[in-house]
């Protein structure tokens, strides 16, 4: 659906040339939710804006939904843009128009008759859950409602691709989740391809199928979200993954706890994918003469499986503990014995 080939974007700034996007290659399939994560200035914003021709690459090619957006202009580009919608961090609604009129705007651009427009707008209002707010002005809406209008507006032209430019970055955590749920719903119901950029790993974890990590204009790591969580290769990716597992915080607590136990062993278990749903602890207690004490644990679902960590304390006969740890090793999970 989306093909980014050897794309470079160089800006002429006062201090010299700045390479915002540096030799990026990406393929995004139809129906996929693809996330691009990076800190500000990593070039992700420039990258997503090249997908609808708001930015033109200096070199390289971008094709989206069959349109060569990196080279088309005028009428053809405008037509392509009707099939490649975008939602924004600051919503970018017209304050002078009501909810209904805002959603109707892209339909006016396409030149759809008034009656058909109204029918479509009502459908969309229902889809994004804004019934009863049709005649409100954006200033009367909350941030989450504004983004719902943004999404409805983006969907009005029946696009094939939806680009989300930090779409949840201006929202509180709860609203973020409800907007993300809506995006997943739309992706499933309409089979829409979604590309989103964010600096929050939470967003990637919650809704993306695949992720690309960007740093200094380059894509440094890419793969299915669950894989990236399981084995982050680059330092920056590890930092992003930590955002959601809060490893640092856990480490301090664990060290304190380990110091408290004079006998037995503290083990960290890492679950990925299906193993997260297995009754490991039950098996452990049934099979071995040991006591198992759960210290701390966290499991997070992603779009293609869960992952999580669990800290447990094993106590009992030394040999029995060794056998138990061997058993854990034989399972499809990662095991790390934490020494005091």
């Amino acid at each position: 659906m989306i093909n980014i080939e050897a794309v470079k974007k160089i800006y002429a700034a006062k201090s010299g040339k700045v390479t915002a996007v540096d030799d990026v290659n990406l393929n995004i399939d139809a129906g996929e939710i693809f996330g691009v994560i990076g800190y500000s200035g990593a070039g992700k914003s420039t990258l997503i804006r090249m997908l609808n021709g708001l930015e033109i690459p200096t070199t390289g090619e971008v094709s989206v939904a069959g349109y060569k957006v990196s080279s088309i202009k005028g009428k053809e580009l405008r037509k392509a843009r009707q099939e490649i919608s975008m939602i924004f961090q600051h919503f970018n609604l017209l304050w002078s128009r009501t909810v209904k009129e805002n959603i109707s705007f892209p339909l006016e651009i396409i030149g759809i008759k008034k009656e058909a427009r109204e029918k479509k707008v009502l459908e969309l209002i229902k889809l994004v859950g804004l019934e009863g707010r049709e005649d409100a002005y954006p200033s009367q809406l909350s941030g989450g409602q504004k983004q719902r209008v943004g999404i409805a507006r983006a969907l009005a032209s029946d696009p094939k691709v939806l680009l989300c430019d930090e779409a949840t970055s201006a929202l509180d955590p709860q609203t973020t989740d409800s907007i993300l749920d809506l995006l997943v719903d739309i992706n499933k119901r309409l089979g829409l391809t979604i590309v989103l950029i964010t600096h929050e790993m939470h967003v990637i974890r919650k809704i993306c199928h695949r992720v690309a990590v960007m740093e200094a204009g380059k894509v440094v790591e890419t793969g299915p979200v669950i894989e990236v969580f399981k084995k982050p290769k680059k330092e920056i990716t590890k930092r992003f993954v930590q955002q959601v597992i809060e490893k640092d915080e856990t480490k301090d607590t664990i060290e304190q706890i380990v110091a408290q136990y004079s006998t037995g062993k503290v083990v960290m278990l890492g679950f990925v994918g299906e193993s997260a749903e297995q009754p490991i602890i039950t098996n452990l207690i049934r099979k071995f003469e040991i006591s198992v004490n759960i210290i701390q644990g966290k499991i997070s679902p992603t779009q293609n499986g869960s992952y999580g960590t669990l800290y447990i304390h094993l106590d009992g006969e030394k040999d029995e503990i060794e056998l138990a740890i061997q058993y854990l090793h034989s399972q499809d999970i990662s095991v790390e014995v934490i020494e005091a």
Partner: protein, 222 residues
């Protein structure tokens, strides 16, 4: 009672002058509005980084606007006499003041339009672009509606300035309240005529301001 305090006021003449003032203001404001909007949009769109970014055209337009804005109105009136004769066919009467009034006010309003357009959220313009809007659609469905309160308050200010200019246009025999106040009130030493003419002008200004503020407030849904 009224005649005792205002012995020299000829109400029929006063009414006649009021109508002339209103005619000059009303007629010139329509053209000032149209011309100012067009000029303002062009000034804005040819600015660097905007849709029709063009330094040369922008500089030329800007220079024209600045020149006509800096010429004192009284001089503009005189300078434009030849043009007025071509356009209106006469250099006396309320109609004769129109070209100078419009050419004096339109550049001023164009600047106000430009400022108003600059305040339109860049993100909203970008959103319209990302939907595949044509430049014309962006002008009529985004730029103008989103800057409407600024455009209306701008035209209010311009109209009030125009009322002042019409008074000055009396110099070339354009008629109106200013003319009356000057010829009858000042030159013949009939202070009461000046007073009444001033009060009427004040009332006109207040009404314009009131209407302008009301519409601006009604339009602004931010």
């Amino acid at each position: 009672m009224i005649e005792k305090f205002l012995p020299n006021v000829d109400w029929e003449m006063m009414w006649q002058a009021t109508v002339e003032t209103l005619f000059m203001t009303g007629f010139s404001i329509i053209f000032t509005f149209l011309l100012g909007i067009i000029l303002g949009i062009l000034l804005f769109l040819t600015e660097k980084g905007n849709m029709w970014s063009n330094v040369v055209i922008n500089k030329i337009l800007s220079a024209i606007v600045n020149i006509f804005r800096s010429i004192p109105f009284i001089i503009l009136l005189v300078l434009l006499i030849p043009l007025t004769i071509i356009l209106v066919g006469s250099m006396i009467g309320p109609k004769a003041a129109l070209p100078a009034l419009i050419i004096g006010a339109a550049p001023f309003y164009a600047r106000l339009v430009e400022i108003g357009l600059r305040e339109v959220d860049k993100g909203v313009i970008e959103a319209a672009k990302s939907m595949g809007a044509t430049p014309i659609t962006i002008i009529f469905k985004v730029l103008l509606p989103e800057s409407m309160p600024a455009l209306v308050s701008g035209i209010t200010v311009t109209t009030i300035a125009l009322v002042g200019s019409t008074a000055m246009a009396g110099v070339i025999g354009a008629g109106g309240l200013g003319n009356l106040a000057y010829l009858q009130g000042f030159q013949r030493g009939q202070g009461d005529v000046t007073l009444v003419a001033t009060v009427i002008i004040l009332i006109i200004v207040f009404i314009i301001q009131f209407i302008g503020d009301y519409i601006t407030k009604k339009l602004d849904k931010r």
